[in-house]
């Protein structure tokens, strides 16, 4: 469907490759986290969680479709969101490593969602007033669902952190495990800098300040301890240098498109 018959994205041609790359980061984060979340379908710890996890995955795949759709348009090579999702190999994926890690137990899944949502929420909030209207309208749409997800994830982190001894221990272990992957979200590279300088995206260090405040607040209420370890140990996903896990994820996700090239589904 035509996107409101409006003009193609107004962008300096020199900036086009960086914008494409950056939009893939947004789309791939949503796609890969959505994929991991969807692995829970039917296996959740309570019926309410089965429903919520399916809904969260659904939201994220919806966001991915909007971002990758715009990325494909910006690229201008005639590719579609589906082709970007299904026909790129790992090194062309631009998601942060945090979202591709295996789920672990439900505590780790929720902690990951919280750490990512808290970033995602700040990012989309800033992007919803981006002067690039195409970016802004997708961000504003996605923000409504991400606000809900952040509320839910924060609430669960607090309740499980301040629950039983076991739930506390599991949430702390999840936090310790995931912490060194969180820094990548805020580590700016040339693409991020180009987007910030073009006025399209916010400065990642500002987001980091706000993210830290939310995270500290919630972890404090959850009686969990912020790890002392560096938070930017594992980076590179945004540049296509991933963990070993992504290849398996893609092999599964892309199986039909790869096994039956050109078929329509």
């Amino acid at each position: 469907m035509a996107l409101d018959g409006r003009d193609p994205v107004q962008i300096d041609d020199a900036l086009r490759p960086a914008l494409f790359d950056w939009l893939c980061r947004l789309g791939d984060n949503a796609l890969i986290l959505g994929h991991r979340t969807s692995e829970w379908c039917g296996h959740g710890p309570a019926l309410e969680e089965d429903i919520a996890l399916a809904n969260t995955a659904l939201d994220l795949i919806g966001h991915c479709q909007m971002w990758l759709g715009l990325a494909a348009e910006v690229e201008g090579q005639g590719r579609t969101a589906d082709q970007l999702a299904y026909l790129r190999d790992a090194m062309a994926f631009r998601n942060v490593k945090l979202v591709e890690l295996p789920n672990g137990d439900i505590g780790q899944t929720i902690m990951r969602e919280f750490l990512f949502d808290a970033f995602h929420f700040e990012l989309l909030t800033a992007l919803s007033t981006s002067p690039n209207t195409r970016v802004a309208e997708i961000a504003a749409k996605a923000l409504k669902e991400v606000a809900y997800q952040l509320d839910r994830a924060s609430d669960l982190v607090v309740r499980l952190g301040d629950g039983t001894e076991e739930s506390h221990a599991r949430m702390q272990a999840a936090l310790d495990h995931l912490w060194p992957y969180t820094g990548e979200m805020f580590t700016a590279d040339a693409v991020d800098t180009a987007m910030t300088e073009a006025g399209i995206a916010p400065d990642l260090s500002d987001l980091h300040t706000r993210w830290t405040a939310t995270v500290k607040d919630i972890l404090d209420e959850a009686t969990l301890t912020l790890p002392e370890r560096r938070f930017d140990v594992h980076t590179g996903g945004k540049q296509g240098r991933h963990t070993e896990h992504l290849g398996y994820l893609l092999a599964e996700m892309q199986f039909l498109q790869r096994a039956y090239p050109g078929a329509e589904w």
Partner: protein, 325 residues
Amino acid sequence: MYAQMIKSESSNDDPQALAEFQARIDRGERIEPKEWMPEGYRKTLIRQIGQHAHSEIVGQLPEGNWITRAPTLERKQILLAKVQDEAGHGLYLYSACETLGVTRDELFEKLHSGAMKYSSIFNYPTLTWADMGAIGWLVDGAAIMNQVPLQRTSYGPYARAMVRICKEESFHQRQGYSIMMKMAQGTPAQKEMAQDALNRFWYPSLMMFGPSDAESVHSTQNMAWKIKINTNDELRQRFVNETVPQAEYLGLTVPDEHLRWNDDKQGYDFSEPDWDEFFEVLKGNGPCNEERLGARRKAWDDGQWFREGLSAYADKQAARRTAAE
């Protein structure tokens, strides 16, 4: 059709009260949760609605099996939404069951111990993407065939649940048919998958209605109570009549050499499924019984710390509120 072979419970209630109750049902009145009902009616309903709820929950698994491999982003969304829908309907039905004085945890316990059943269909594997189409088209089609009359069932919360559930399920059934359509019109390999899916799911779908119950005393009682509206054979015949032309439209062949139109009865003659296989599946000897039930038990066991954590927090909060007052 998620409730199979529901045995009715006999009642030891006062004959006069029973007669008045029956008269209410015969007048087409709805029975509501806080009203008097025979113990047998209550127990039978718990069994039926509970089995229906369990089927929704276990039914997430065969489709969940393909979510991570769905071939396009839109198909992935449709499948995710469908699985969410099933879990949501499960929740709704468990809540309807709770109005009859049983808790969801008790029902789960009975599912996990094997004391309560779920529909036999979910013990068959989903082997190719076409199975997502076959489930939407055939399995949901059979379920809807059963649920549409249940919108007129005598128990209020169940009947009202069925109205909303039917609307949502028919939405998903259309999407299942559209997967089948794409495959049947696709490449030779896709068409082969579609035919294979029909071959595998045809008879198990017919089994969903349960064996003939024209002679069954349970059926007679349940129909008098309007817990059951049609006989299994009536529903199966309706399903075949509706589905065969759809298969023809898709260009697929129903795997039944005896299938033919019968002008006299204005319906198709068709082969019965293998009822020995059906009873084996019910006994636990279907292709996926252990996996399906095993997955649900594992989810429950692995989730214990999670549920305990939440309830411990709720207790602490309640204590904090009391302390603050």
